[in-house]
């Protein structure tokens, strides 16, 4: 039986199918198959192991989003508004691409001025490129977890960008993708990134609201790195307090490729960030790190699977979070080492700091190991602020609030240090500092 919310997506699909990119082409059949799978399986719910802590079906059913309309009129970029997430990275020299309601906004974006060897196209125009087709058609048969919810995006993706960097070319400055929600409703975007041999690029992503309050942002990013290619990736998720954010990044790494990804989560009512990394060549390296700071009723679920399918690759995952009020944080991670993946080094760590009596944390760091010559470890800690450290600061004349802020920012700084871009890192730190000031670390909270 198809659940009501899946049905509403199916209805949207029926209504919009002919206007979606790739209609009439090869993609139409893939979309058709994906929506049929969704109809059979329904949306993921808490009785499925991977969704144990986040019942997406329930969340979407309660919210009942209609599809987001194409935005009418102009959108003002909140660039002057320092301290707002949407304004982040404004001061950094970068290529800027803006999406409004999941659709590329040409007026606000600069698609030109890219160096030779770098191609940036809207999704619809990239569909006939072989690499783009391969990226969209990629199956994850050995790792069905990577497939669980991406079908929804495949069926309904309306826009996105495809970045291709040719062999040996380095993107001159960061590419900044800004996703703004200006109207309520559901939007589905898909981005493709392909770096050929020894190519390099830095990509920033910002997800924020520009007026909308009640929306569902669903996004899938496919990353494919050629031999020796390097991708630095920084994502800021600062959606509106009632928004639902679902994002999936799937990355395939060739020999000696390097992925360095950092995510900061401050926003959204309910968010689920999924990262899947597959090693296809040896001596490759993946860093998937992040930090989150939650308050109110916020719920953030980080789900990260690193699949070592070949020998001699390294992975490092570290997520740190602070939780205030009634917020909930979840970290689910998994390192898989396949039978032949000898000499793998896999590390995974998660730390959470509970600031309030009603906040909660769930962690599930998993190891699945089929090869013997490996070094794999994971760790998890959960606790509150160290009373001794607090006392130490207080005894030196620092007031309680400042002392708490100092300790919390020291805690988060360790994670923020992973952000693979110096200026961006400084901006992220400033933003997190703002989080405390705006925060509810008021006197009555201090126990």
């Amino acid at each position: 039986m198809t659940d009501a919310i899946a049905q509403s997506f199916i209805d949207t699909f029926e209504r919009e199918r002919d206007a979606l990119p790739g209609a009439g082409g090869w993609l139409a059949a893939r979309r058709e198959a994906a929506i049929r799978e969704l109809a059979d399986a329904g949306l993921p719910h808490r009785r499925l192991e991977d969704w144990k802590y986040t019942d997406l079906r329930d969340v979407l059913e309660k919210a009942a989003f209609a599809p987001a309309p194409a935005h009418q009129g102009a959108v003002l970029l909140p660039e002057g508004d320092a301290g707002s997430g949407a304004a982040l990275f404004h001061a950094i020299d970068r290529h800027k691409i803006v999406f409004v309601n999941g659709r590329l906004n040409h007026a606000l974006s600069d698609m030109d001025g890219l160096p030779e060897g770098v191609a940036l196209r809207p999704l619809a125009e990239a569909l006939e490129q072989d690499w783009a087709k391969a990226a969209i058609e990629r199956r994850f048969d050995t790792n069905p977890q990577a497939q669980s919810i991406s079908g929804l995006n495949l069926a309904l993706m309306a826009d996105g960008v495809a970045l291709h960097v040719a062999e040996g070319v380095a993107l001159d400055k960061p590419l900044h993708l800004i996703f703004l929600a200006a109207d309520d409703g559901a939007s589905h975007a898909r981005n493709l990134v392909r770096l050929e041999k020894n190519a390099q690029a830095t990509v920033f992503e910002t997800h924020a609201s520009a007026g909308a309050a009640h929306y569902f942002a669903d996004q899938v990013t496919e990353v494919s790195l050629g031999i020796g290619a390097t991708l630095n990736h920084i994502k800021l998720q600062d959606e509106a307090a009632k928004a639902v954010h679902l994002s999936t990044m799937r990355a395939a790494l060739s020999e000696k490729a390097k992925l360095d990804s950092f995510t900061l989560i401050l926003g959204a009512g309910v968010s689920r960030g999924q990262t899947f990394v597959e090693f296809e060549g040896g001596e490759a390296e993946a860093h998937v790190n992040g930090a989150y700071a939650l308050r109110g009723e916020q719920h953030a679920d980080q789900f990260c699977v690193v699949d070592h399918a070949v020998p001699e690759s390294n992975s490092h995952t570290h997520f740190k979070g602070v939780l205030d009020d009634r917020s909930q944080g979840i970290f689910q991670g998994k390192v898989i080492v396949r039978p032949d993946a000898q000499k793998t080094d896999g590390r995974q760590m998660t730390n959470a700091l509970l600031l309030s009596r009603d906040a909660s944390v769930n962690a599930k760091p998993e190891l699945e190991i089929y090869a013997d010559d490996v070094q794999c470890a994971h760790g998890s800690t959960i606790g509150e602020l160290d009373k001794d450290a607090l006392f130490y600061l207080r005894s030196r004349g620092i007031d309680e609030m400042t002392a708490r802020q100092l300790l919390i920012s020291a805690f988060l700084d360790e994670a923020l240090d992973y952000a693979p871009h110096e200026e961006a890192r400084a901006e992220l730190k400033a933003l997190v500092a703002g989080w405390f000031e705006a925060g509810s670390l008021s006197a009555e909270d201090i126990v």
């Binding site: 039978p339 000898q342 998993e366 190891l367 699945e368 013997d372 010559d373 490996v374 800690t381």
Partner: protein
């Protein structure tokens, strides 16, 4: 040719699973299959009161509508629950009044297993309840324990003699409806031990139950219930073996522990069921529900297990830390070789204030085996100042085996301090080289290193068991190197 014969004999002696023999003894069995009549048959055999039969039937009715769990990382063909015997007992016309009346063949079996039942020969200070298929054959030192006020007897006897106690505690930790195998056990459980330590008593000796599956095509459904009243202490040991057979036999036990204020229960297991042959043929399916309830303040339950046997192990000895300041401990060594599959771990449910728990799990996989640690540490909202430390280390020997760690950590109270760490690696070449360079053969070197790896857990075992367990660690890994 005498020398050849001697060699053959020697080889026979060092055979890996020395408990693989079976005893030719006439037995009576329930009709094959599982129906309400089977449940009635078992209940009648045990001469049980009406309430017990009702309890069993209720469980059986529930079980019929339950589905076998599939979430564990173990794979086995679908079991035919109708093609097994649920009750098998050595034939005996009258119940033995003393050891002299016990069938000598049975005594011989236990002798061969290294468990002498004649009290004068026994290791001083250990009382044994010997369970053979579905019945308890003999319980030693009963009288001496009675003097201290301790009740130690087969559970079937307890149902008849102490119905009030059994009624009060049976199913209070593992409810009838807990899970598929526990419910099955509730319907057809045959024997096991009942221990009751009265208020303020420190049990004068170690209590021990030795489980033996003998009959073909049977399942063993033991039920153990241990109640430690206020301020009491008991240390309980459990050992198990089974004959070497090509078929898979089911062992679905339920163990319930209740610790009241200031009481302490120490429960140690050396599980050495037949693990199946090199190709993974035969062996015991060990699907066990073990749970302890720290009901009183300052109570403590400690599980120590050495798992070397069974084709498949599905076992999560847990602690419900209900009483304030109560403490749960779980020390485990799980060794898997050949085609063995282990999915084991623990659950620490923190409900009371200032409760603490410690988990040390050492998984060793060799051959083509699969070894999974699956655990839960859960802190409820009202549990203040909870402390947990979890360490699970896996050691891989050979490139055909696998090791998995699946921990769940759930915190709903900010004052909790939870730490979890896990590592997976192989025996380092440097360590091996160091030993071998000093003349220690490779297999011994591996056993030595593995024993070091397990040391934290082995130290927790009572002395008599620790020696046996150490040997077992070596034997289980035989043939895994080279």
């Amino acid at each position: 040719m005498a020398a050849v014969k001697e060699t053959v004999e020697t080889v026979g002696e060092v055979e890996k699973y020395k408990y693989g023999f079976s005893t030719e003894i006439e037995s009576e069995k329930a009709p094959i299959g599982l129906t309400e009549d089977t449940v009635r048959y078992i209940s009648a055999k045990k001469d049980e009161p009406e309430w017990m039969l009702e309890w069993r039937l209720e469980a059986f009715r529930r079980w019929k509508n339950m589905k076998e769990p599939t979430w564990a990382k173990v794979f086995y063909p679908t079991m035919d629950y109708q093609n097994a015997y649920y009750y098998a007992a050595p034939k005996q016309t009258v119940a033995p009044e003393s050891l002299d009346e016990v069938d000598p063949k049975l005594l011989e079996t236990y002798e061969k297993l290294g468990i002498p039942l004649e009290e004068q020969k026994m290791l001083a200070g250990v009382a044994v309840d010997a369970v053979f298929d579905s019945v308890s054959v003999v319980t030693t030192f009963k009288e001496k324990l009675k003097e201290a006020g301790v009740i130690f007897c087969p559970i079937s006897e307890a149902i008849r003699d102490y119905p009030e106690l059994v009624k009060k505690y049976l199913g209070s930790v593992v409810p009838v409806t807990d899970n598929f195998f526990a419910t099955l056990n509730s319907a057809v459980f045959s024997d096991g031990s009942f221990v009751y330590i009265p208020k303020g008593v420190r049990c004068p000796m170690e209590l021990s139950t030795y489980f033996r599956i003998n009959e073909k095509q049977t399942g063993q459904f033991e039920r153990t219930l241990i109640v430690a009243e206020e301020g009491s202490y008991v240390s309980y040991l459990e050992g198990c073996t089974a004959p070497q057979r090509d078929e898979n036999q089911l062992h679905a036990a339920v163990v319930e522990l209740v610790a009241m204020d200031d009481a302490e229960i120490k429960y140690s297991t050396v599980q050495n069921w037949y693990p199946g042959d090199e190709e993974g043929k035969g062996g015991i399916y060990n699907f066990v529900t073990k749970r302890g309830d720290c009901r009183g303040r300052n109570s403590k339950i400690s599980w120590t297990q050495v798992e070397t046997g069974s084709a498949i192990t599905w076992k999560y000895p847990s602690c419900i830390l209900r009483g304030d300041n109560s403490r749960g401990e779980f020390y485990s060594i799980a060794i898997s070789n050949t085609k063995q599959q282990v999915d084991s771990g623990t659950k620490m449910i923190h409900l009371g204030k200032n409760t603490s728990s410690r988990i040390v799990s050492k998984g060793i996989s060799a051959g083509g085996s699969s070894n999974t640690y699956r655990g839960l540490v859960s802190v409820h909202k009202k549990a203040e100042n909870v402390r947990n430390f979890t360490q699970c280390d896996s050691l891989l020997i050979g490139d055909k085996c696998s090791a998995h760690t699946v921990p769940y950590i759930e915190a709903k109270n900010p004052t909790a301090i939870l730490e979890h760490e896990a590592t997976t690696s192989k025996i380092s070449d440097e360590q091996l080289f160091y030993c071998m360079q000093r003349g220690v053969p490779e297999e011994e070197a591996v056993a030595l290193i593995v024993n070091g790896f397990c040391r934290d857990v082995l130290q927790q075992l009572p002395m008599e068991f620790a020696v046996e367990a150490q040997k077992l660690v070596g034997i289980s890994l035989e043939g895994s190197v080279g």
